[in-house]
């Protein structure tokens, strides 16, 4: 289990990293925490000529808060979020999600930027950031651009990231009304990639509701029917189950009976979790 040989550089700026990543004829890849890329290189499911180490770029570490949003640098680790090193104006949702990702030694290195760039269908941050309406900031040779995480993640290991582009960070909008966030996930073993993850985000009483189901399809699914039910104020879990079942017929027509029950149950548990948040 050794990677094929490659060259390694440690650029000092994002501009330098972009230029290195965009070189014609060189198969270059960025590395942040390495918690996904190193095993992929060792298993030789990924092969590169050049590894561009982003992990010491201060530009990607900035964390800030305005009245409008929370800015999270791409290099922010799962462990830093778990430990409350960044603000979490989402009722502790991000802390709780972080603490369930893999194992502590992996969380000490794995970054939120690397997780979104990889776009593993079972990753925890994609669904979470989509549920919170986050925007990804991307830097490249032609300046910076922004895109909703929902549009950035396009499928299994597939994003809109172009040659030479680097994720700088994320802007997560804050709402005026207090947020109530719920989350539930099922994995065969704590720390393993999940089989189903659900997020429920409610803005204020009777406000906007977002329900996201992840690890069920190549990219997270926004469940419109379940959200409509939760926004209606009707307090019935049976009705919620029916609404999710309808959503699944639309978005996951090939789900088998086990998957259908699994996904319904994570959404119901996420909604229960949301109700316990005051």
């Amino acid at each position: 289990m050794k990677s094929a040989p490659f060259d390694y550089v440690r650029p000092r700026t994002v501009a330098e990293a972009s230029a290195l990543l965009a070189q014609a004829g060189v198969n270059a890849a960025a590395i942040a925490g390495g918690q996904s890329l190193v095993p992929m290189l060792n298993l030789r499911v990924a092969q590169v000529d050049l590894l561009v180490d982003l992990s010491r770029l201060d530009e990607l570490k900035a964390v800030g808060e305005t009245s409008e949003n929370l800015q999270i640098g791409a290099l922010t680790t799962h462990a830093a979020i778990e430990d409350g090193m960044i603000p979490d104006p989402f009722g502790g949702l991000m802390r709780r999600v972080a603490s369930t990702i893999s194992y502590r030694a992996v969380r000490n290195y794995g970054t939120i930027g690397g997780s979104i760039a990889l776009a593993d269908p079972a990753a925890d941050w994609t669904g979470c950031l989509i549920a919170l309406g986050a925007v990804v900031r991307i830097g490249g040779r032609n300046g910076a651009r922004e895109q909703a995480v929902e549009d950035f993640v396009q499928g299994t290991y597939s994003t809109s990231l172009g040659p030479g582009e680097v994720i700088l960070g994320f802007d997560v909008p804050r709402s005026d009304a207090p947020l109530r966030c719920g989350f539930a996930k099922v994995a065969r073993k704590s720390g393993a990639f999940a089989n189903s993850i659900a997020y429920v985000v409610v803005q204020g009483r009777g406000g906007l509701v977002t329900v996201v189901l992840a690890a069920a399809a190549p990219r997270p699914i926004v469940l419109a029917g379940a959200a409509r039910h939760l926004a209606s104020g009707v307090d019935s879990e049976d009705a919620l189950r029916a609404a999710v079942a309808d959503d699944l017929k639309t978005y996951l027509p090939d789900a088998d009976p086990y998957e259908t029950r699994l996904h319904i149950s994570t959404v119901v548990r996420a909604a229960r979790d949301m109700r316990t948040q005051t």
Partner: protein
Amino acid sequence: MKITVELNGAKVVHDVEPRETLADFVRDRCGLTATHLGCEHGACGACTVVVDGQVTRSCLVLAVMCDGRSIDTLEGLRNNPAMEVLRKHFHECHGLQCGFCTPGMLIMARDILQRLPGPDANTVRHELSGQICRCTGYTGIVKAIVAAGQELARDTPNG
């Protein structure tokens, strides 16, 4: 590529290949074989070491990425006070059989007791879910860590 690290308290300079993992670096270049390699893809925890105070899977980081950092392997923690207490309880509670997982277990156990002093058995089990032991069935390991946590909390009531 030349890297400089502080390995178990001593400055070490070595030429490494960029593809070399930290695990291969400490074992093959530096001859420190307490760090074991089980799965080499992040699943078993046998390779756990400490880099800049943080538990690290040495099979998942490249040696070049650790340039300028400080690395502790189990060899370097021989006289660490928490490690002495942990070793005693692993011995008394039958926390090991073949010993393959033990270096990673001890390093992770020390990290758990630092972050979550005096943990109960459930907490220990949860925190240990990334460390695989093929022999013991974990009961002795969990008991040992809980007992070590109680002893350390008793001796240092204010942390």
